[in-house]
């Protein structure tokens, strides 16, 4: 289903759309306040962008350095070319240790790889311990937002879900009460899990360690109890030095939710005593993107979600309308960069307003990349005829001034004389909710021609 069709379905519920838009725009406003509190905000963005671009330009060296340092500290490092290899590595680790319950903290990478259904099919229970992710997991859905996975769900709906599945009081919607219920439910799982899996926000080449940012402390609890910690990490999560971390930590939470910093920024630099720690480094199309010079800056992304929060299209169409793990402007770049045929409608789910580019803490020129992606689709002949045919006609007319003048006149005369029902026919998509402008008798060029001699002489007189 194209984004436009899914978006129209979402928008059909006007009340919900308004609520979704306002809820997420509130997060954008919190971001503005938090960013404004840092006088060197724009310098920080530039610095972060340069660090990321530098890292990506020498990614091979930094990855090897990262691996060597991690191994030196007793961490085992695995390499996965794609999602399937990643899932098999994780399953292998769990099977070897007879683990039948895995607790996970937030990880968009495992969503991308489809880890949960893969492990469940192999008989392993997987429990997402991030509250939002747990809610969408209980609803058998996917996150609709990379930072706020359950942002599309109202608290009353969470109340109903918890009543059905966790036995909370019917009709309860108090967030404290519901969170407490989730906490108790998750604590049982955390205590009995045989392994904990985390995502990775930053991998530090210089130290071989990783940093995981959460607000709920679930990554800490999920790794502090079980004897096995697996960290799934996309290749692009690397930064060269520990010194660089401060730049990103200052930007990440402010951009994401308007907090000065996430409640927990947990460093894992060596396995705890009696524990094994494994890092699975995943490519899954990333190295392919590095080769696409137009789009490789999208690998700067630190998954803060600011571009989603500011995107007027995302706020009014919901994350699920993108039919992809990562929605919003950044998703509309990285998904078609990997699979242009499947995601051809996403670069067009954008009015090219440019707000995403302005909020991005690592300065990915998102709206220019979306535009470049449209050209890329054109080059590969992946644009639908509904786009190419009208544009071919428009191009043919607009490159010939005489034809343009003739067609313009014809159009205006038709609009003036045709009855309304013919103009507002079912094929006129513009006219479903909008009137067309009233067609004037004369075009500008006709009006100007008439006026020009008089005005010219007036001006000559006044000079």
């Amino acid at each position: 289903m194209s984004h436009a069709t899914a978006a129209a379905e979402f928008i059909a519920d006007a009340e919900r759309t308004k609520w979704h838009d306002e809820t997420i725009f509130f997060v954008r406003k919190k971001r503005d306040l938090a960013a404004a509190s840092v006088p060197e905000w724009e310098l920080l963005r530039e610095t972060a962008s340069q660090i990321k671009r530098h890292t990506l330009s020498r990614l091979d060296e930094y990855l090897e350095q990262f691996e060597a340092n991690a191994i030196r500290h007793g961490i085992k490092v695995h390499w996965a070319r794609n999602g399937k290899e990643h899932n098999e590595i994780v399953l292998g680790l769990l099977k070897e240790r007879d683990v039948n319950l895995l607790v996970k903290s937030k990880s968009m990478l495992t969503e991308e790889c489809g880890l949960n259904p893969f492990l469940e099919a192999a008989g392993i229970e997987v429990v997402d311990t991030d509250l939002g992710e747990r809610i969408v997991q209980m609803r058998h859905e996917h996150p609709s937002h990379i930072v706020l996975p359950a942002i599309h769900i109202k608290k009353q709906e969470v109340g109903q879900l918890f009543h059905d599945q966790l036995g909370t009081e019917a009709g309860a919607s108090d967030p404290d009460y519901l969170t407490e219920a989730a906490r108790n439910h998750l604590r049982d799982k955390l205590i009995s899990a045989g392994a904990g899996l985390t995502g990775v926000n930053f991998g530090i080449a210089e130290t071989g360690g990783i940093v995981v940012c959460t607000n709920e402390g679930n990554a800490d609890l999920g790794t502090a109890l079980p004897p096995l910690h697996i960290a799934s990490m996309g290749l692009e999560k690397l930064i060269p030095r520990l010194d660089h971390l401060g730049v990103f930590l200052r930007l990440l939470a402010r951009s994401a939710t308007g907090q000065p910093i996430t409640a927990y920024s947990s460093h894992f630099h060596t396995p705890r005593e009696g524990q094994e720690m494994h890092i699975v480094l995943v490519d899954n199309g990333r190295s392919g993107m590095m080769g696409q010079s137009e789009f490789n800056r999208a690998l700067n992304c630190i998954r803060c979600g600011a571009c989603l929060n500011t995107c007027p299209v995302y706020r009014r169409s919901g994350g699920h309308s993108y039919h992809a793990t990562v929605a919003g402007p950044i998703g509309s770049v990285i998904n078609p960069a990997r699979d242009p045929e499947k995601f051809e409608s996403l670069p067009f789910a954008c009015s090219l307003c440019g707000s995403c580019t302005e909020v991005c803490p690592v300065k990915i020129p998102l709206h220019h990349q979306l535009l470049a992606m449209r050209h890329e689709l054109g080059k590969r002949h992946l644009l639908p005829m509904a786009k190419t045919v009208p544009m071919k006609v428009a191009g043919a007319v607009l490159r010939r001034p005489w034809l343009y003048r003739t067609m313009g006149k014809l159009g205006r005369v038709s609009l003036r004389w045709l009855p309304r029902f013919l103009i507002y026919n079912p094929l006129n998509v513009w006219g479903r909710q909008r009137d067309l402008p009233e067609a004037p008798k004369e075009s500008f060029r006709q009006a100007y021609k008439k006026r020009a001699p008089q005005a010219r002489s007036d001006q000559e007189k006044s000079n």
């Binding site: 928008i11 724009e42 067009f348 090219l352 449209r374 428009a394 001034p401 343009y404 004037p440 100007y448």
Partner: protein
């Protein structure tokens, strides 16, 4: 000072009075305006749809028509952004791209930056909501976008604020997109219209009588929605306001 006037295709066809107002304002401040009749369009509809090959000859025609002018001025931030920032994607080897691009100005920035006009004389005693069109704001930097952490400025607002009796209303969202977005308006009709209706509601609750913008395409979309809903809002291009600022009654865009 001789100015080559670029009147975007949809203004030529549907909003000739906006073009005439542009001429009036430019001439009032001493520019000699010349309108080369061989012009059509900047090529943006095709380029933004990804149809590079269809856009290229149109961009080339633009350069042929305007390359000899000292300045090119257009009453549209979006079309100027196309010429200044995106022609090089279409014509990477054409040396005229940089030359013409750097000489092409949106009307308001031409008034404030080239003609160095601080304030426009005249009065416009109305409550006005300024619609900051995205490409003017974020591609041409006619003002500081709300996302950026920098010293505030706004060239369009500055020109309007100088008019006597004008009251610029405070919007809840100062620079959110109206949802026009070129072919986006049709390809994503539901989202586009919803964005536009939300913008109209913001202006209405801020108490605006007139919505003003330096981009007519946004106003065409917003105006289309407003007329269908029979909202008592007038939509005016900034050029119209500046040209009419000696009169007391605003004339709505038809």
């Amino acid at each position: 000072m001789k100015v080559g006037l670029f009147i975007p295709c949809y203004i030529d066809q549907f909003f000739p009075h906006v073009g005439m107002a542009t001429v009036e304002v430019l001439e009032r401040y001493g520019a000699t305006v010349d309108y080369p009749t061989g012009q059509t369009c900047c090529g943006q509809p095709m380029a933004n749809t990804g149809c590079t090959e269809d856009a290229r000859p149109v961009a080339k025609l633009f350069l042929d028509v305007f390359e000899s002018y000292e300045y090119v001025v257009a009453p549209s931030g979006s079309c100027v952004a196309m010429v200044r920032h995106h022609f090089h994607d279409l014509l990477p080897d054409d040396p005229r791209v940089d030359k013409v691009g750097s000489r092409t100005f949106e009307l308001c920035e031409f008034l404030t930056d080239v003609l160095e006009i601080d304030s426009i004389e005249g009065e416009f005693p109305h409550r006005v909501g300024l619609h900051n069109a995205c490409h003017g704001l974020r591609e041409l930097r006619l003002g500081k976008p709300s996302e950026q952490m920098a010293t505030p400025f706004n060239k369009v607002e500055k020109l309007l604020a100088g008019l006597e009796g004008i009251e610029l209303v405070q919007l809840e969202r100062t620079d959110e997109c109206c949802g026009f977005g070129g072919t986006f308006a049709v390809a994503e009709e539901a989202v586009s219209c919803r964005m536009g209706l939300d913008r109209l509601a913001d202006h209405k609750s801020a108490g605006a009588e007139v919505i003003a913008s330096a981009d007519m395409s946004c106003l065409m979309h917003l105006g289309g929605l407003a007329r269908r809903k029979k909202l008592p809002l007038k939509l005016m291009h900034v050029a119209e306001i500046l040209a009419q600022s000696t009169k007391t009654q605003p004339t709505p865009t038809p």
